[in-house]
Symmetry: C2
Subunit: 338 residues, 2 copies
DNA sequence: CTGAAAGCGCTTACAG
DNA sequence: CTGAAAGCGCTTACAG
């Protein structure tokens, strides 16, 4: 299938009249080589269209120049703009530093896919996107002392390299904004309640509600999964419990989109009237620019690009033996959308 | 960083009292091994927690057990649900057949990222998602005789393995449905006009319009990029040219979402009235379930899962020397959404 | 049914 | 500044 014959370092060496060692050193850009032979070698490499085999190199060096990207197994995750932006930037960053990205999944309570990659030496390190409480993959990686960095926070383990937004603080600030805007009854709709992100944001919400002398009401709180369907159903339930809410805090772009769908669909098209009294929605990411002139939208932008870029650079720094901080916090931005 | 010492085939052999060859054969599940030694070897492997090095294996076999997934470089692509679903299923399929997925990009007129993967022997074959006219990556892959399969159609080259929906036919059927629903003036909003998908769908639209004695009107046609912003702006432009259109054909979920945003935002919230007279929208994927009681939505479902799965299986079949068809067409489904 | 040996294509002490 | 040799961890004819 492939070209008849792969050109190897030996062929380059022969043609250039030097040894394999010398060619290897030329490629590796070692200092102690005469410019003359170096030039000769490079010209032969070009002529022969030579490319070192990454595989052979890996075996000799015991490094693969691959990083594994571990994705959550739930389908919804892939619909999240956060994932998309991160994947792209991680891939770019890795590539700029000479690494490639290999995909792996983090199934429910199963680490096999990651374990296979690690044990088979297919990756040098791993980036994990989103973790749950007592994440088995984290436990496995930590126990086998394998280099990895987590996008997000590890609740259970302290000695984990991580890049995260301060989600508790972000959600406190966000909730406070709703209160400052005059909201008296603020609902909360979150994703998977085992997800660390959801937990942090929920805590921020709770603290702010309590600190401001409002009472926490279970009927106004929904936590399910990271999907627009969840948003749609959650807001429906909440409104059934109490139609007088005037604000909502939402933890995720997909959920937000489901909530907006619900609201837009439940306005009378005849009269333009709506029984929905929501004045302000605070959310983490909107996904697209759905609007509604009656509702103020406050968005927390967690900067998935910086998170992705930092996680990747941190991992590679780690692999290259550089000093890295254990925990890095990336700023968030809050802004009004309409 | 890693565990003190990696366990190798040699250590297993020694402990089991056999040679490396025999261990290798046991792993490879060769027939000619006595059950006794096989058992012995497996128990030692378990005991030592041995895992063969994929790297060493690759070097010996000259295969990497990796497939490259080549993604378009434009950011918008990543927001497309089609991409997300495909990535997931491709990854699953590859994994079930013992392969891993490596990400690569197909930059504007540049094949470097793919070329590097191929030349460095990091992948055995490549899956390309979406191609443009005279795609340089396709040319490179074909010229170097490297195994690959294209999701989509190759306009320029016939001897390319591909898995595709019949987009011309699908868009003909779709457009005809709008006509049957009574539409008299049907606009068209498409993505990048160099993209083969867009071209095919546009052709389907054009043919149907002409076959039904309607006249093609440039003012009603917009082709730009695969983004919701494009949808928003395109519908705005078209309506400015002619506010009497009563149907639209849209080639992409993101574009659709932008169009719906526009329509929902340009209805008077006071009176519920709208100057927009669109009765039916035909689209390829909706992304989410945005609705509008005034508008009938007809969706073509291109089944990205089957496309992803087939492309991956075809590639691996190819790598394993099985017979595969050059072109495979996957059925689409048309259904009314509301 | 099993082992010794050569080979996959690199890198890297070691010696000069 | 350069080369010969050993090694990375496997596989696979070849011989028995």
């Amino acid at each position: 299938m492939k070209e008849g014959r792969h050109v190897t370092i030996k062929m380059v060496a022969d043609k250039a009249g030097v040894s394999k060692s010398t060619v290897s050193r030329a490629i590796g850009n070692y200092p102690d080589i005469s410019d003359k032979t170096k030039e000769k070698i490079f010209s032969v490499m070009k002529e022969l269209n030579y490319y070192p085999s990454a595989i052979a190199r890996s075996l000799a060096n015991r490094i693969s120049k691959n990083v594994g990207l571990v994705l959550p197994a739930d389908d919804d995750f892939f619909l999240n703009p956060f994932f998309q932006e991160s994947l792209r930037i991680i891939s770019k960053t890795a590539s700029s530093r000479g690494y490639d990205v290999l995909i792996a999944y983090n199934g429910d309570n199963e680490t096999r896919s990651v374990e296979r990659l690690v044990k088979a030496n297919k990756v040098d390190g791993v980036i994990m996107m989103r973790s749950v409480v007592q994440d088995p993959t984290i436990e496995y990686l930590r126990d086998s002392n394998f280099p990895f960095v987590l996008i997000g926070k590890s609740i259970d383990y302290s000695s984990v390299h991580s890049v995260d937004t301060d989600n508790v603080d972000a959600c406190k600030t966000l909730t406070k904004k709703l209160i400052d805007s005059g909201c008296k009854k603020i609902a909360f709709i979150g994703g998977d309640k085992n997800s660390v992100v959801t937990i942090d944001r929920f805590n921020g919400y709770v603290k702010t509600i309590e600190e401001n002398g409002m009472k926490l009401n279970k009927d106004l709180i929904q936590e399910n999964e990271f999907s627009s369907m969840n948003g749609y159903r959650s807001i429906e339930k909440i409104l059934k419990n109490d139609s007088s809410i005037d604000g909502i805090v939402i933890t995720d772009a997909l959920i937000f989109s489901g909530v907006m769908d619900y609201i837009n669909n439940h306005k009378s098209y005849e009269t333009g009237e709506s029984s929905i009294k929501i004045k302000v929605i605070g959310t983490f990411g909107t996904g697209n620019f759905q609007q509604n002139p009656d509702i103020e939208i406050i968005n927390v932008d967690v900067d998935s690009k910086i998170l992705g870029e930092k996680s990747c650079n941190t991992l590679i720094d780690l692999l290259e033996g550089k000093d890295v901080e254990m925990t890095q916090i990336v700023d968030y931005k809050i802004s009004n959308i309409n």
